[in-house]
């Protein structure tokens, strides 16, 4: 886990849970019926305030002297969608998928998040119209996959925890990395529940001073097993890890996943995890089982891509080809480092091999970052 992600995901949880509706921002559909918005340094004029649910294009012109930011706020004050950096004298088209309800439009000159607002009323049931049934299916399939992976991590963590509690260091070490695989394939989804990720996957180096006393989870046990060579005395931490994962499982039924933010965005996050945490060997500082996590992250991202592929192929065949090639290249490269049914210890992977892995991850991460934009088209 990386602390920044916790923050980022905590911030959008409400939005993402509201599913396909309001995931905002993004195609140029129906610009002819655009709602004109004139923003200035002290005004926010919206030409039409009673709107029909569904994709709505706002044509925002900044007539002020400062860069402006246009936001649609929900009735609870949370941001449904926003468009930043509208330069003085410029006009942008901003598309929002609006479910029925009451909203405020806000123009923030100077982009402080504060500024004049206008009340908007959205009625009708159009919000989900235009949703591609293939995407709806992909989201449903992805949820099944997430559930399977959480079940997998739970079952293997149960065995791992049993070994820790039995004081069997060798067995616990053997079961540690496999227990994390399920988690690592779907980590961005788990991170949507802001409280679970820090509990189960926090690394010592990322803790704030006041968090050290309550530190637990996988990496606590990792340090204990590899650095201190002990399993005993960790019963409470081990039980808590299992309990937290049970909590994760119990929350899954209420979860709605959308193809753009949760799937494509999550796949990008997984590659980011590889690029910043695994390639450097920071994630598994004591066990050096980074390549196991690496493989799980890539598999999780590839699953998302596979589910979205029919849509990607239709909308951007070149991107599909590039992703096919680069997923294959990374998987081939990972094979080089296989060791039986696991991977070589990352501290044995030399500089040139790490560079090769990093290059392959960059080569995949760049086109993968375009997935969301293509799916949202």
């Amino acid at each position: 886990m990386r602390p920044a992600h916790v923050l980022a995901f905590a911030g959008v949880t409400a939005l993402s849970l509201s599913a396909l509706a309001g995931c905002g921002g993004d195609d140029k559909a129906d610009a002819s019926n655009a709602v004109k918005v004139t923003a200035s340094d002290d005004k926010c004029e919206v030409a039409k305030k009673d709107l029909t649910a569904g994709k709505t294009t706002f044509k925002v012109t900044n007539k002020g002297g400062k860069p402006n930011e246009f936001e649609i706020l929900k009735s609870d004050g949370k941001i449904l969608s926003e468009r930043e950096n509208i330069g003085p004298g410029t006009t942008v088209d901003f598309v929002v998928n609006l479910p029925a309800g009451a909203y405020k439009a806000l123009c923030s000159a100077g982009q402080t998040g504060k500024g004049p607002t206008q009340d908007l009323t959205v009625s009708g049931t159009g919000a989900a119209t235009g949703a591609d049934p293939r995407l709806t299916q992909a989201a449903a399939d992805y949820k099944t996959y997430v559930t399977q992976k959480v079940d997998d991590t739970l079952a293997k963590t149960r065995e791992f925890v049993a070994a820790v509690k039995a004081g069997d260091v060798a067995k616990a070490k053997e079961l540690y990395a496999p227990s994390r695989v399920g988690w690592e394939t779907i980590e961005p989804v788990a991170e949507k529940f802001g409280d679970i990720d820090p509990k189960v996957d926090a690394r010592e180096a990322d803790l704030k001073p006041d968090e050290k006393a309550t530190w637990g989870g996988w990496h606590y046990l990792e340090k204990s097993l590899w650095k201190d060579g002990k399993a005993k005395g960790n019963d409470k931490i081990a039980d808590r890890l299992l309990a937290d994962l049970e909590t994760l499982k119990s929350r899954l039924p209420g979860l709605t996943l959308d193809p753009v933010n949760d799937m494509a965005g999550g796949a990008k996050e997984l590659l980011d995890e590889v690029a910043t945490g695994k390639v450097t060997g920071e994630e598994e500082a004591f066990s050096h089982t980074d390549l196991v996590d690496f493989k799980a992250n890539v598999d999780g991202a590839e699953k998302v891509y596979t589910l979205l592929k029919p849509v990607v192929q239709e909308k951007d065949a070149a991107l599909a080809k590039e992703l096919d090639d680069n997923f294959a290249a990374v998987q081939t490269l990972l094979k080089k480092h296989e060791n039986g049914d696991t991977y070589v210890s990352y501290d044995k992977v030399g500089k040139a091999d790490r560079k090769e892995l990093a290059d392959a991850v960059n080569a995949l991460g760049e086109p993968l970052s375009k997935l969301g934009g293509v799916v949202a088209k």
Binding site: G87, F94, E366, P367
Partner: protein, 413 residues
């Protein structure tokens, strides 16, 4: 390039023309550019944009900008079509960035769900006389015995592997590279933005091998300007070829037809050397000895025994191992190279010393008659006690891109 509409605003347009700094920059740039355009066709617009297209690549005879970001790349694919496509994408991005425009759909496109094409840190900045100059290293043509792109037989004879020179202590991680890109600009952020965006476009086809920032120019290709000082405090390379000296450029810098590689006609060969300076020991050296080592006085930069920087040096006045004496064309059968180096300081080296020096860049018609004999002649240079060559590269820089063409099109045609 394509339709930018309201979202692909040029950086200049976003800045507007009210910025005082822009006006100052434009005025300062115009003087230099007029000189250059008269002879070399390096045209520069009011906002400091240097023409991208032309017979020769910009960034060679162009008046030297203040800052450098130099990067080399290794090609990670064996697919020639992918490589050519990337070179085309790079060319489009380079043409846009050198004119002060953002890459692709810009940094703040209408569609917010995808990452922007342009990374954005140059928004609002003028073109800053950005030039991007590309070169191909020996390993581009053949690597580990493999002719990856079917261009092995097009490797120019002049693109030799540099020999080992006495005193070399080359770090392989700071040497070589299949492709080199020299980004020069008057604003470091503009130069870094250019390399960063090219690296990003290149992911999957190329990977950065090493890169170098240079913070201060050490050479001038403008005849009336004073030569800037290097980190030793000296003016070095006064006898540089100016961007206005067409005859000298044709004789010493631009490769011609019938020289073994016609695709290089109008191109040039670049030698890059990362030269570490032992500045701490240098600073403990007496002024007299420093001046003897260079063969110039420190204050004015005049050759030994003379008054002004540009007085014609009398080599016999200097010690036999003086740097200027050994590097001077008269000691090298008239050989001349166009220098375009920059000072660097990459933090410290862990031993309490500045990791500082000169990132030497020289362009020439043929390294076999340019850098190699000169560097060989410098083996007895008194300066060697205070410097060490720690990185090295040699690259064939193709001719300039014509409208509609792309970097390397004469090679891949």
């Amino acid at each position: 390039m394509n339709d930018r509409s309201e979202n692909g605003l040029s950086r200049r347009r976003m800045l507007g023309f009210s910025g005082a700094s822009l006006l100052v920059g434009a005025a300062a740039g115009a003087g230099l550019d007029r000189v250059a355009s008269a002879e070399t066709g390096d045209k520069s617009t009011e906002s400091g944009a240097i023409a991208f297209h032309g017979a020769n690549q910009a960034g060679i005879a162009t008046p030297v900008q203040d800052r450098l970001h130099f990067a080399t790349f290794d090609v990670t694919t064996n697919d020639r079509a992918k490589l050519v496509k990337m070179l085309k994408d790079w060319t489009a991005a380079a043409a846009a960035m050198t004119q002060g425009h953002a890459v692709g759909e810009g940094a703040v496109p209408a569609v917010a769900v995808a990452p922007p094409d342009d990374t954005g840190e140059a928004l609002g900045l003028p073109a800053s006389r950005l030039t991007l100059t590309i070169g191909f290293g020996p390993s581009f043509f053949e690597k580990d015995g493999k002719d990856r792109f079917g261009i092995k037989d097009k490797r120019p004879a002049a693109l030799v592997d540099l020999p080992h020179f006495p005193g070399d202590s080359l770090d392989p991680d700071r040497s070589g590279g299949d492709i080199a890109v020299q980004a020069c600009a008057d604003d470091p952020q503009v130069a870094v933005h250019a390399i960063r965006n090219l690296a990003r476009i290149g992911f999957g086809v190329v990977a950065v091998r090493w890169s170098q920032l240079g913070f201060g120019k050490t050479s001038s290709t403008t005849p009336d300007a004073q030569t800037p000082r290097n980190l030793m405090g000296f003016k070095d390379g006064t006898e540089n070829i100016a961007g206005t000296e067409s005859a000298l450029l044709n004789k010493h810098v631009w490769a011609g037809k019938g020289e073994g590689a016609d695709w290089m006609a109008g191109g040039s060969y670049m030698v890059a050397r990362r030269i570490r300076m032992h500045i701490e020991t240098w600073d403990r050296t007496s002024l007299r000895e420093q001046e003897d080592i260079f063969g110039r006085d420190k204050g004015e930069g005049a050759p030994k025994g003379l008054k002004r920087e540009r007085d014609k040096p009398v080599l016999a006045n200097m010690k036999p191992d003086a740097h200027v004496r050994l590097a001077h064309p008269d000691s090298n059968k008239g050989t001349r190279i166009l220098r375009r180096g920059y000072s660097f300081t990459d933090g410290t080296d862990g031993l309490g010393r500045l990791e500082a020096g000169l990132f030497f860049i020289a362009y020439q018609r043929d390294p076999r008659t340019g850098f190699i004999p000169i560097q060989t002649n410098l083996s007895t240079d008194a300066l060697n006690e205070y410097i060490q060559h720690v990185g090295s590269g040699v690259y064939a820089c193709p001719p300039g891109v014509r409208e509609g063409g792309y970097w390397g099109d004469t090679l891949f045609a």
